[in-house]
Subunit: 218 residues, 2 copies
DNA sequence: CATGTAACGCACTAGTTAGTTACTTATGAT
DNA sequence: ATCATAAGTAACTAACTAGTGCGTTACATG
């Protein structure tokens, strides 16, 4: 499943199912992210992955099944990266600020995540229904945020009764919306949304928004 | 440009350029919103509008140009609806709460707006570039929000120095994200995002988020 | 009533596109 | 070595799709 195979072990290893599968997945991710499910072309994915179209049908079954695989992998990656932050080792305020910052930086570094999720929702989430491993991870994630909130209440930093799901949605929303709509936003507001200054301003604004939302002092 | 022509003036008026154009636009809006730009089919739009495909090319020039027309109309409609709220006649706090509530309710009542904007951004906003009338409206809208913020500062209700653009983006974001990602969100969080209780909870949460963000007391 | 103009519609084309068939080639267990 | 199996390829197909050529029909104007 390694995405690339730059230094083959012995000679030029011509046959490597795992590597081929990984290359197809990476190429599909790029293609689906750029053009959406309907706009993506199976032939282009085959070419981008320097594999053959037949291999896509062999390993994944078809265009839609390939999209399912791409989507689940994308979601698993962000949930795994969040877990790797070890937020539970941080004081509550710092943990929450880190989460807001991480979410923002993840979207910035992985813009294809956003367009993939948008495509999935255009099709009513149908391609995520069977991703059971992900549902478990998601629950663990919500529970972790709940524990951070609880700790913050104990220390007197956070208000009581905040729903971790509403909070998660809000943290995602204020970063996601800015970035997914940066093109139409840039035209309408006559600003470059990706300029370093603009990015810094927005991140600070977002951290401030979340801190004011959950803060106990008021 | 009237979308329907239920009561024709004299006899059965078989030829009506305006009505045909309007029907095509309405059908295209529904089709593009449902399937995206690449997924939409010109033949289907022709059939849905009970017009002929030839007419689409006659009136709009092509699929992409039709998408441009649909998109600009959609944006103009929301900006016009916002203006019709006459927020400047309300006290600052009430004006801002009304704006948050309106934005939410507009997205709920016009779900196609969200998917159209998503499609436009998938294509890097290219289809909105020539919408000059809209840019003017957008500036007027931002100026109006700025005036509400200024009034709020004068009355002592709002903090100083809030950027109306960051605020607008945030108001849109917390409603938009919840609704555009309601399908994947529903699967991952195991909740029905559109249930009446869930909708009410989210709207209250959103109003609270914005009020805490701009409120002077802290 | 004659006539120019714009609305309208059928049927076609040239190029795509997802998915498949039939085949070759490398690999590793025996 | 050999041979079953999995990896890999090229060429094909049937259905689809954006766009167009060309002819017809309604309506306003003089």
């Amino acid at each position: 499943m390694t995405a690339e195979n730059i230094a083959p072990e012995r000679k030029t290893r011509k046959r490597d199912a795992d590597a081929t599968k990984g290359r197809i997945l990476a190429a599909a991710k790029a293609e689906f992210a750029k053009l959406g499910l309907a706009g993506a072309r199976v032939d282009d994915i085959a070419e981008r992955s320097s594999a053959n179209k037949r291999m896509i049908y062999h390993y994944f079954g078809g265009k839609e099944a390939l999209f399912c695989a791409v989507l689940e992998e994308a979601y698993l990656d962000i949930r795994e990266s969040e877990r790797a932050l070890n937020l539970e080792d941080l004081p509550p305020i710092e943990a929450m600020q880190t989460l807001v910052r991480f979410t923002w930086e993840y979207y910035l570094a992985n813009p294809e995540f956003i367009t993939l999720v948008n495509s999935a929702n255009l099709h009513k989430g149908r391609h995520l229904e069977s991703a059971d491993r992900l549902k478990t991870r998601q629950r663990q994630f919500v529970d972790m945020v709940q524990r951070i909130l609880d700790r913050g209440v104990t220390t007197g930093d956070f208000r009581k009764g905040i729903d971790p799901i509403q909070l998660n949605i809000t943290i995602a929303a204020i970063g996601y919306y800015y970035l997914t709509n940066r093109h139409t936003g840039g035209i309408l507001f006559q600003r470059d949304f990706l300029e370093p200054d603009a990015l810094k301003t927005r991140l600070d604004f977002n951290i401030d928004t979340i801190m004011r939302l959950i803060s106990a002092k008021d």
